[in-house]
Amino acid sequence: MLGMAVVLGLVAFAIFGPLANLFLWAFAERWYFPNKVPQEFGFTFWARVFSPRGNALESLGLSVWIALLTVVFALAVAIPAGYALARLKLRWRGLILIAFLLPQAFPNLPVYVNIARVFYEIGLNGTILGVVLVHASHGLVLAVWIASAAFASVDPTLEEASRNMGASPWTCFRTVTLPLALPGLIASAIFVFLESLDEFTGTYFVGVPDVTTLPLLMFNASMGGNYQIASITALLLLIPSIGFMLVVERFLKADVLAGVGR
């Protein structure tokens, strides 16, 4: 009994210790070794981060804007593909599904590096469009799979009923299929949004020097030794992710994921 409590305590420290450290740095004014906690707490760095001349607000806005564009682009491409894979006859369906799985199974560094080089040649390097394209192509993979699953889970008899009543394919899609698949599509939109918000490696190669998303800003602050700013921006990055986790907590039932790998 006591043993289990000790183990749980250690696990809690392993998980929350690093996060608590982040919090301390985010609210620290001065903190030098060997003090266990900051000598001074304060909001000076928060003011600096959010000041009108500060880069953080601009980077946050840019990151959110890029993430939104990424979602639009990824879904615009993934929804038709997901629908086709779920409902329509495709001769190479299995192969196509695998084609959408490959990007997740390969190290993506060679991809980013060479995309950046091609973008440099055609002038897309350091542009928002270039970064959006990189984020969207990465998020597309997940979006297609989730969209395909969402459409597949719609009861076909409902669609057949609507067609029997004379609805055209487009009307049937618009009024029956799409609304029913919407929860799954929203889930894929959120995943793509979060992936784009947190994306670092691709933006590191394609975005510099003009596009500084929040992860890049955090990275620069951290490497420059400015741990307060780095920790504050890290907290900003965490808010959407943790918020999403708390909301979707009840959907992460263990047995739902039992199908993976079979």
Partner: protein
């Protein structure tokens, strides 16, 4: 089943899938091909291995370091995932199980880049880990070390990826037949025995998937080694970044990338080889 939509011709189906496939072709297949071309092409345009030789000369240590770190992390992740998922399945204290289930998932939602920053401060010489160790009397203040080397990278990787594999594993274990476990327990088997002999063999497939996915993911992470330990010996991702941003040497950088692709392919082969041996 009469499906009016398919009767209108499958060209429509291909038209719907085409944009997505085009994106994959342009932004994934094409860069990979380009990578191979750049890695094997000499200045004169002939096929050559010279970039690989140069990459091996310059980065031999880092290559072995990368494989070692990722392998070690994968093993640790497997052990931790088995331990946590095993307890969640076989644990007999409902409150402890509930607490553990709530606890272990948090790192799942923390992106790699934030993990890098978090560990950079936590594992530093003046970080919280050292403070706690000193405060609890486990080490002397003077012997506090910075863990910002290969250990830090392993810790960051395990911290971030273990919950993911645990989630997969717990899901697989939850869908097992409870009768198998109960039968073994009724015969007097201890829980560890049940875990090793009954539960694990049945979830082997899921464990393999999780570990191989983690292996491939960790191979290509740039943020964590860049933030925790950018100085040699470091992971090849850092070397690739340096080669490009400082020297614009795409040839050697791509040679390094091809090598890491081969290593990832090795992991995939390992998975296919072992998953095919299902009983």
């Amino acid at each position: 089943m009469t499906d009016a939509k398919t009767a209108t011709g499958s060209w429509r189906a291909y038209a719907l899938v085409a944009p997505a496939l085009l994106v994959i072709a342009a932004f994934f297949v094409f860069p990979l091909i380009l990578s191979a071309v750049l890695a094997f092409r000499s200045k004169g345009g002939d096929f050559t291995f010279e970039h690989f030789v140069k990459a091996w000369d310059l980065y031999r240590t880092d290559l072995l370091f990368t494989i070692g770190i990722v392998l070690l992390s994968t093993v640790l992740i497997g052990l931790i995932a088995i331990a946590i998922a095993g307890y969640l399945t076989l644990g007999e204290n409902p409150r402890a199980v509930a607490i553990l289930r709530w606890l272990y998932r948090w790192p799942l939602f923390i992106p790699f880049i934030v993990t890098g920053q978090v560990m950079r401060t936590f594992l530093a010489k003046n970080g919280m880990l050292n403070h706690v160790l000193i405060g609890s009397g486990l080490i002397e203040p003077l012997s506090a070390q910075s863990m910002l080397d290969w250990r830090g990278i392993v810790i960051a990787f395990v911290w971030k990826q273990a919950p993911f594999v645990t989630l997969l594993l717990a899901g697989a274990m939850a869908s097992l037949e409870v009768q198998h476990i109960e039968a073994a327990r009724n015969l007097g088997a201890r829980r560890l025995r049940v875990l090793i002999d009954i539960v694990l063999p049945q979830v082997r497939g899921t464990l393999l998937v999780g570990l191989v996915l983690s292996f491939v993911t960790m191979l290509s992470v740039l943020s964590v080694p860049l933030m925790i330990n950018p100085n040699s010996p470091t992971m090849i991702t850092v070397d690739v970044a340096y080669r490009i941003s400082t020297l614009s040497d795409y040839a050697v950088a791509n040679a390094l990338c091809i090598i890491s692709l081969v290593v990832a392919a090795g992991a995939a082969w390992f998975y296919l080889h072992h998953s095919a041996q299902k009983i």
